[in-house]
């Protein structure tokens, strides 16, 4: 069933598709985001759902307050250390298949508040993130682009075979350790299963300016 035959059939009004395409098409066109605004990016997220930028064109205007009925968690804003356990617990309570968009520089890596003692340097230390949107706050068009990127990612997911997505593989965990707020910091400070320090050879970093080996 090559592409050329499919187009020919489509022109005659017959649609030929595989079960996997239908499955992915259905899921990607109706992603229900979790109503989860933290800071300034949340206002830009709300502006995206409003009439002018209209997230409804991509089937995602239904913002569900409870994690049980949401497919996508948009971490929009600064994740502080006091809020991190709640974010991870909400992610754990979401139903499979679930995706995470890390919106804004704060959610990616702490952003302008990186030196804050109460700021988590990026949410991907505790939960796996699918799409990152840089910007502070990213423009509504950037968020729409993130949705398109996520939809492309869902489109390429395989129903069978080794590289099935996380929710189709029984052995991949769907829950991640919820950090604790202890005396001085969060314990554990990061989830080593999913986040490694981006190590670059720093021994001779002092000598040449570039810091790369």
């Amino acid at each position: 069933m090559d592409e050329q035959l499919k187009n020919e059939l489509r022109r005659q009004g017959v649609v030929a598709t595989t079960l996997q395409e239908l499955y992915n098409w259905g899921r990607k066109s109706s992603i229900w985001p979790l109503n989860f605004g933290l800071a300034c990016c949340a206002i830009e997220m709300i502006a995206t759902t409003m009439a002018r930028y209209d997230l409804a064109r991509f089937g995602a205007e239904v913002f569900r307050p409870s994690p049980r009925q949401a497919d996508l968690m948009i971490v929009a804003g600064t994740v502080t250390k006091k809020m991190a356990p709640q974010v991870v617990r909400l992610y754990n309570q979401m139903a499979e298949p679930k995706y995470v968009i890390s919106m804004g520089a704060c959610a990616i890596s702490g952003g302008p508040f990186k030196q804050g003692y109460n700021v988590l340097k990026g949410i991907d230390r505790y939960i796996p993130v699918d799409v990152y949107i840089p910007g502070c706050p990213p423009r509504p068009e950037a968020l729409l682009d993130a949705f398109l990127m996520l939809q492309r990612k869902i489109d390429e997911q395989q129903l069978t075979g080794p590289d099935r997505p996380r929710h189709l593989q029984a052995e991949l965990p769907s829950e991640f350790t919820v950090p604790e707020c202890s005396e001085h910091d969060l314990t554990p400070t990061r989830n080593d299963a999913i986040w490694q320090v981006p190590l670059v050879n720093i021994s001779n970093a002092g000598k040449n300016e570039s810091g790369r080996d």
Partner: protein, 123 residues
């Protein structure tokens, strides 16, 4: 002859059930074959705004709610009884309408008693 008369109803029943159960069965088969069950301790925990919920939700509620519900139930059922009465409103003899009137007055008298004991007023 008689069973023919009911044949369409039975066919309709089966078709309706089929339409209802078919997708559910398909979803169940799909879930069994493709997406594995991934329940876990925090996933099944009670959702309380992202926090661990403490305390128990099974508490002794104000009886006012229960009384409110009962009174609503009574008048809901009364409305069901009134439906055939309203449909065949034309051809009623005197006796039939009087008996219906007694039914209605009994219920209204109950409502007046409830309001007089101001059970419905929300303190």
């Amino acid at each position: 002859m008689t069973n023919h008369m009911y044949l369409p109803v039975i066919v309709l029943l089966i078709a309706g059930a089929g339409f209802a159960i078919g997708p559910l069965a398909l979803a169940w088969v799909w879930a069994k074959k493709f997406s594995p069950q991934k329940s876990g301790p925090t996933k099944n925990a009670i959702y309380e705004c992202g926090l661990e919920s403490n305390g128990d939700a099974w508490i002794k509620f104000k009886p006012g709610y229960y009384i409110y519900a009962i009174i609503f139930l009574i008048f809901d059922v009364e409305a069901v009884f009134l439906l055939p009465f309203a449909v065949a409103f034309g051809g009623f003899t005197m006796a039939q309408s009087i008996s219906m009137l007694v039914f209605l007055i009994l219920l209204v008298e109950g409502l007046v008693w409830a309001c007089q004991k101001n059970v419905l007023s929300w303190s």
